[in-house]
Amino acid sequence: MNSEAETKTNELPIDDPFAELLIEKDVRGRSLWVDAWQRLLKNKAALVSIVIMLVMLLLIVFGPMLLPWEGDFTDWDNTSSPPSLKTGHWFGTDPVGRDILVRTLEGGRISLLVGLVATLVSLLIGVSYGAVAGYYGGMTDRVMMRVVDIIYALPFMFFVILLMVVFGRHIVLIFVAIGAVNWLDMARIVRGQTLSLKNTEFVEAARACGVDHHAIIRRHIIPNLLGVVMVYVTLTIPQVILVESFLSFLGLGVQEPMSSWGALVNDGAQDMESAPWTLVFPAAFLTVTLYCFNYIGDGMRDALDPKDHL
């Protein structure tokens, strides 16, 4: 990232103010990350959350491969049976005899997949939109932000539902729909950061050196956006997972046989009196995931800017 800057400083005489600025930026950049990392490590809640999420990730990715049956395997001898080691169904089974543990883990794959991909969509739209608005400023910025304000005021969940109804329940559509509706916060934050970055000395120095817009955005603005973007990505993932589970709960999410945690909770809620374990396990996994991501996102936000609360 900084190799070009370094070559530049080697060519310029030492007391050139631009060279000094470029060197300064290098040093400043590195210590910011190290500093933030140390602060994050001190945040116990965030650390524990990271550990839990890693464990969860391992379980979700590798768990189903290690279990003797798949999510749609129906064990007719053991329908609606409570969790027990004897039957081998550690989380119990649902009324049709499907193993809840496997279904929960597979559901996790779907929920996390949607979470990551939709966040990615959100990220792409939000960052480009925000960076452009912030960088070009002026009228462009005002119009673009006005559009964001307008969309922000609308009940987005309703639109997602509409989209689902209109276009059917294809999984790619879910990624796009949720992502397309969630990019607003990211855009706002990125635009704010870009605006303040644009006016810093090292960008002015770069411009004075004749570096063109594209390169400035690529080399100076985007690396400095990384921190802020990472925080919001971590905070967006649980939001997106939540939206997806809402949809699934209403019957508008991913289609069978794919089942996300939301759909599992919906199923479980219907049998909750006779077979509460069908509700409890997916609900617990969903809640723990959201809980941990929130703490991680919070921790990252504190680490990067301890003053910036909520």
Partner: protein, 314 residues
Amino acid sequence: MKQAGVLRHAAVRLLGLIPTLLVLITIAFFLIRMAPGGPFDGEKVLPPEIRANLDVNYHLDEPLLQQYFRYLGQIITGDFGPSFQYKDWTVNELIARGFPVSATLGGLAMALAFVLGTLIGTVAALRQNTAVDYSVMGVAMLGISIPNFVVAPLLILGTAVYAGWLPAGGWDWSWQRMVLPVITLALPVIAYIARLTRGSMIEVLHSNYIRTARAKGLPERLVIRRHAFKPAILPVISYMGPAMAALITGSVVIERIYSIPGLGSYFVQGALNRDYTLVMGVVIFYGIVIIVLNFIVDLLYAWLNPRIRYDEAQ
């Protein structure tokens, strides 16, 4: 002088809302029309003449753009049209039936969230970095993370099914049927407001003017009530707009779970049955409600914050 400033501020904001509404209506209209299949593609296959008649009656045979402008015209006069699925009802009537229910739920939830949230947040702030603070904030984080469709069944199980204290659902305007849905709906908002208040209160308590108040020899309780509370609350007031949007969103699921005949339920039903007019009507109606509520919140904020009043008047 100050009053004029606030009013002018308000008028300007109001004008800005019209494009928002227009965008809302347009997007909703064209979206729903893009759905494959129309409102009458039910399980029964209708004979072609009847089908043609229905189309004409509901203007479905006209070009799309014409339907759009016709619809706009209707909206301006406040007519959302007839419902496609409930043949004897107009959308206006359905909204009139469902909205009071949802509004009551939402209003109570908002009030509960504000009162409890600020209280809890203040207590946590006053006991910053103690066990009380950490545990309260931990629970609050849980409140934000746990989806309401997880909380609801658990609450129902606990209070209604096992303990039999409260009814499990339904709606008859009795307080017993309101308790569970209101609490479930309010929970994430209470949690968010608690966290917000705590952070804000901590910041306020470190400010110089609080130090001055203490240096005056005022008892701490008075310092907090008179000097710290109002500034600390401002971010919460700002949050009320998004909070109400969140409550409206949440109501869709809550009404489903607790079998409450509110606007959210109608919406979901309408979406599943492709009842164009109903869906459109609800989306637009809620859009207007959100816009108006945001507007009121803006006014409230400006009224509470003397600096804004001053700036506007200048």
